[in-house]
């Protein structure tokens, strides 16, 4: 395959790459948050998830997402400032 891609094929490829990257990023976030929040909220696994377990998990997941957003913002800013020096 040596032909160049058409404009429409290019757009589709770009969209797919971006979408796959977003999916991978989301999966990583969910996997990490699940481990952290399980450890934080489920000290002794019982026969079912209690309401307070669920509240804790929900809160924890939201804070983990906040933390990720904060970290990536600080990281990006610091990298940009570092490069300007």
């Amino acid at each position: 395959m040596t032909d160049k891609l058409s404009g429409a094929q290019k757009d589709e490829l770009m969209q797919q790459v971006q979408q796959q990257l977003a999916v991978a990023n989301f999966q990583e976030l969910v996997t990490k948050a699940t481990h952290k929040c399980y450890k934080m909220c489920i000290a002794k696994p019982g026969s079912s998830l209690s309401t307070s377990d669920q509240n804790c998990l929900a809160m924890c997941m939201d804070r983990y997402t906040d933390t990720y957003n904060h970290v990536i913002r600080v990281y990006t800013t610091k990298l940009q400032n570092g490069l300007q020096r």
Partner: protein, 89 residues
């Protein structure tokens, strides 16, 4: 995620627009991967026993310091290694 140019010549298929696009996406993927590692580490350092209703100011400062000092430490160590390498040969 990486595109290995060794067995397929991407430039035959991808014009420079697409190559630029892929490079940007790779950088984005790398940034996100680093951010996940840092989030993991800084969460353990800065978040207490139970999650609150929001990240408070103290926690945000802790997270900011955690990320910034990690980068400082990483730059410091690379520079130190370079210095050692250049002084030893």
């Amino acid at each position: 995620m990486s595109f290995d140019n060794s067995d397929t010549d991407l430039s035959a298929v991808l014009d420079s627009d697409l190559q630029d696009f892929i490079q940007v996406q790779q950088q984005k993927a790398q940034l996100q991967s680093s951010a996940h590692k840092l989030t993991d580490m800084c969460w353990d350092r800065c978040i207490g026993e139970r999650p609150g209703a929001r990240l408070d100011a103290k926690t945000e400062v802790c997270l900011t310091n955690c990320v910034e000092r990690f980068l400082d430490a990483s730059i410091f160590l690379v520079q130190r290694l370079q210095k050692n390498l250049s002084s030893h040969g």
